[in-house]
Each structure stands twice: as structure tokens, then as C-alpha cells.
Symmetry: C2
Subunit: 397 residues, 2 copies
Amino acid sequence: MGRRMANPYLKQYLMTAGPTPLPPRVSQVMAEPILYHRAPAFIEVYARCLERLRMVFQTQNDVLCFAASGTGGMESAVANLVRPGEPVAVASCGKFGERWKEICEAFGAPVVHHDAGWGNRVEPADLDRVLGENPDVQVVFTTFSETSTGVLNDIQALAQAAHAHDALIAVDAVSAIGAVPLLQDEWGIDVVAAGSQKALMCPPGLGFASANERALARAAEPGGAARYYLDWGHTAAGQRKDPPDSPFTPAVSLFMALDVALDMIEKEGLEHVFERHRLLGRASREAVKALDLELFGPEDENANVVTAMKTPEGIDGAKVPKTMRDKFGITIAGGQNQLKGKIARIAHCGYYGAFDTVTTVAALEMTLRELGADVELGAGVAAAQRVFLEAGVPVPA
Amino acid sequence: MGRRMANPYLKQYLMTAGPTPLPPRVSQVMAEPILYHRAPAFIEVYARCLERLRMVFQTQNDVLCFAASGTGGMESAVANLVRPGEPVAVASCGKFGERWKEICEAFGAPVVHHDAGWGNRVEPADLDRVLGENPDVQVVFTTFSETSTGVLNDIQALAQAAHAHDALIAVDAVSAIGAVPLLQDEWGIDVVAAGSQKALMCPPGLGFASANERALARAAEPGGAARYYLDWGHTAAGQRKDPPDSPFTPAVSLFMALDVALDMIEKEGLEHVFERHRLLGRASREAVKALDLELFGPEDENANVVTAMKTPEGIDGAKVPKTMRDKFGITIAGGQNQLKGKIARIAHCGYYGAFDTVTTVAALEMTLRELGADVELGAGVAAAQRVFLEAGVPVPA
């Protein structure tokens, strides 16, 4: 297939928004002997994860867990909330928002699609207008952090708009959970879907759905879509048993990893975790600006999951991630779909510290220079350094 | 919740039919740095897994991979093959066969259910009769190794019966794959569903579906059930790209594990893997008989996934697995549903050798003695030893 092995002597840095690098403790627990899912040793792990997920989601809900990618968590929201033939609304601003539309259509729901455009925010006033024009919509699907563009939506305001029209709101928080504040209960978000492989510092393979009583009640009504594996009722019944029991064999090794990762988040403190992400986001944006590059999307001090920048005119943008990876061992993401070759995305959601950002910015400068762009070596790095120094040493990372 | 930590000084042995113990090489690869799923280093792993899965399934099909438990693999077969309102047949003989019925009903298919009874085999003649009586059935769902009872069905003959009535057959091979011979293409099995956590020696979290062209063609026709995450078309399209690409973030660490496990299976040689399972099954059955215990289900020299035995009269059967675990550190499974407290199940699917069986039989003897049953210590062990010695030393394990 013409692929070549990566150079084993090139030290590798993973700077993508999922999978994200794992803390050594998380990696290593997966090398321990596997546990039987009904034995006390695993049940301890499982129960502790279920409890700590509530802390991260800031909710009293049961955070339902599925052996699935984040899309499985999203699909569970669709499968449990839509009713074939009844319209729903999707408010999107990128690739992952559009995924909601694809899933809803696959489940037979006509979609009222508000497309805010890639790189824009979904404006709550627009959602309000769309729902005013479509009074039969009972469920809204939208995105918290749109990973394809780096944009963060104001889901608290979007939830208010949905509720003003008596609609439920389901939010894709796959890349946001654990990176930026999400107060599910306080903000009244009916459903939060998420995944394990981003700021939760675990491998991919666990999908989550935290659904409130109103959403669970709708799911339990007749007339819903077909589902079994992703049925909220099955999984909620299992998780509410004492001791909790997964209806299907849980992804044991991933729960072992999650247990350690959630312990780390708890010990760092959720507020400190968010503050660290704020600093990494700010340092990345300042570096981009110091290099005279253009941020993609609105400059937003809350958008601290992934920083997207336009690749400079005059160079082949698709070569930026490729050169960074092949020459410097730094894996970042380029643009997806219509943004292919036009943007580069640096992630800072998860197990990242100040010097991950410094390293990535340094490699970005070297890459752009290699590709013929006129950038001042060190200028971006210096901007990032200033952000970290101003925040005080030691850097909370 | 009143649970207590397992005694850390009691050496633990996992003898359940999933999760099964992992070879050290498989465990340890998961402690390596996580890979970006679109980077060359992961694509190598992914492509190799896809190719080697064909070897294990003995097929030219693409073995479709999902981040899901084995039930997700099964559900993909239902979601892609049933048409709401059109009848299907389920031929079951235990808990996992009945799961097919639950999933089919959840997807809106009226189920013609042939229940052969827990502990019996599904007889091909019975399936033939049922399909003769229900000529509008186009899909049959059944089980290869019924983990709840240890029974192995003759899926080659069941496939012939289904095909005689022009029906497709989908087989749950979750616990059989890699333990007993399954020649998907030669036997004409239209769909094989499986999971990672049994004889494939990996953690739970990967579900598989190997569908032949006829099954894929049916799935592609209009009128099918709603699905997105488990849609065969999506996943097949991704896996057939060059290089292959998963439509959703794959469970990277589990593929890293699978890559190592499949390498071990390839190096041991599939026929040797099956021969090892045959010996372990025979040794387990001979031990049970030597202890004057009764096998549950027909004595079957091909049923080498899990050995089920009736717990002796006069003792509390539910205490057998509990005592083995709490006093001796050996985790086996008891009976499920109506068999709770009535049977004990010793697994030998996966990374098991002769002395795992010896250890388990020894602990079983000690457990039964502790619970007041009249067993001769060492009698079961000796029977197992004889099986291994007769097969020649070194034991192929």
C-alpha cells in the first residue's frame, strides 16, 4: 500500500484533538491483568467511574456508558429521543454538527437544519428564530466544541432558546468535556453526549450520554426509534443496580484507564483543569498572532479545546501537518472536508502542559519556514512563553 | 455498598468465558503511547488487523470492526438485515440466542422463535421444519457456541437448512471465534458476529461482523432498519479505502492489543490453537466425570469453549463460584437466569494452557469439599493430567 514505517528515532508528539496522549499512569493500568466484569475488583472500578463522571459532567444524572466511540454516545441521544417522522432541529457550525443531521436522518427524523457555517458560532437568536418558525420541533441537537473548526458555542444560551420553545436540547460535548466548563445541571442541558478519548485522557472506545429526567422520560415513551445496544433504559437500569452492572460486557480495560484518569482530574481539581486549558488556548492564540497568521473563526477566550489557524497564502496548506509529522514528529490535524489544506489545528484538550504548546509552536515555525513562508523563528514561541510567565510559575500543568 | 476489596495476597486466576486473561504481550502493548488513528503508525496496525481477521474468520469478506461489545456486532447484523414488519427466525438454545430475539424485536421484526431449550443443541431438522412452516422468513439468527450452557451448534448444517429455504443465516460466534474451527466461506455462513474479549485474547470493546456479498447486498437495499454507527455500508466503505480508514474514531488501544493477539494466533497456527482448545475441553470434561459430577448439556467433543457442569445435589450451587473466587482466587462463572445456582462454567477459550485447567479443577475439588460435597481430592486433576499426557508432552499450550 506504499506506506512507510515512521522513523523510530524521531521522537513523537501527539497534538491532535483525539486520540490525545495518555498520562503514563493511565497507559500503565491497562497493562495490568484484565478483570472479570462481575467480580468485586471491577465493580469497585466501575462504580467509582460512574460516580466521578457525575463530577466531570457537573450533574446528578447517571452518566450512561457505552462501549462505543463518541459517535455512539451521540447516536444514543438520537435513537432514544427522535420519533420517526417527527421533525427535529440541528444547529451546526462544522463537521461534527453535521453528523447530528446525518444520524437524525438515518433514524427517520426530518431535520430542520440551521447551518451557521464552518468557523462561525451558532447564534442563540438564530436558534430562537428557527424554533419559532418550526413550532413542532421537540428536540434540538447541537455542538459545544466544534472540533473541526475550534469554535465553542454558548450552550447555556442555546439551551435557554430551546427551552423557551419547550424543546429538549442534546449537546455533543465530545471534545469539550473536561476541557472547558460545562455545568450540565446548572445550565439545564437535557443531554450531554461525550467520549473518552479527548480531555478525559483515555483511549477511544467509551461513549457517554448524560440524560436528565425529562430526556429519559421522553425516551421511555412509545413511538421512539429502534435501538437495543444504545437504549438508555437498558443501560440506566443496569447502572442503577446495587452494585451497578453493565447490560453488556463493558470495555473493562478502558474503565480501568478511566478510573485513573478521573482520579487525576479530581486531584488536579476541575477548576484547575479548566484554567490549564485556558492558558494553553491563550498561549496558542497569542503564538498564532505573533507569527502574523490568521486565527480561523472568532477569537474567543473560552475556545480552549483546539486552536485553528489559516495556513498562510503562498504555501501548500496540506503540507503543514504532513511536514510537521514527517520531519519533526509532531502530529497535528489539518482541515476536514471543505477546509482541507486551508487550516491547521493544534489541540490542547487533555494531558497537555505548557511545553507541549511551546514544542508545537516551535515546530510550526520551523515547518512554515521549510515550506517557504516568511515567519520569524521564535516569535510564536516567545508569545506563548509570555502567556505562561504572566500566569505565574510553576505553570499549572 | 457493602462490597469489600479483594484480598491482594490471594493470587488471582480468571477462568471465565470473557473477559478472558490477556497474554502479557497483549496487556503490555496497551501501555505504549496512544497513536493518532490517521497517522501511518496506526494505519499499519489497523490494516494488519483487518487482514489477519480474515485468517481467523476463514473468509475473504471484510471483517467489519466496531468500537462496541460483542452485542454491538450482533446488533449490526440485525440493524442491517431486518426490515421492520417482515418476519425473521431466531433459533436459540440459551441466553445469548435469546438476545437475538430481543434485538430483532427492538428493530421491529416479528420473530419466529424456535427455542431448543437451555442445554440442548439447535437441531438442523427443526430449523428446516420451522422455515418450511414460515416461508416468508428471509433471515435466520442463531448461535455457534452458546456461552450460557457450553453447547456448540452445528452451524454448517444450520446454514444448509437456512439456504435450502433461501434464507440468510447470521451466527453469533462471539465465544467460538478462535476457539473452535469456523470456516465461514467454506461453510457458507452469510454473517458471523463476534467480539474481541474471548478466544481472541483481547479486552472487551471491539465488535465484529463478517458479512458476505449476499448479506451486504440485502443491507444496501431500501426498506431496512434505522442505523448509522453500526451501518455496514459506512464501515465497509472506510475499511475498503487505501489506506483503510474507520468512519468513526477506532478504539486505538484495543487495535494495538488485537494486532499482537492475532500475531500470536498466526504464529501458534490456527489449527494448533483449535487443538489446544480441544485438549482443554476434553481434560475439563474428563475431570468433571472423574469427580462423578454431571456435565450440563450433551457430551460433545467439539464443544471446547466452556465446560458446564451441574453442581451436586445437597450443596448450595450458587456458592461454588463464590467460594472458588473468595477462598481460592479462581473466578469461574455460575449459571445465568434459570440456571442460576444450578451449574458452574469453566472457560477455556483464549489464552489458556494445561495448568490453568489443572489449577481450576484442583480448586473446584477443594471448593466442593469445603461446601460439604463428597468428592475425592485429586481425582479430577488426575483425569485432566491423563488427557494432557496422552496428547504428548510438551502440551501444545
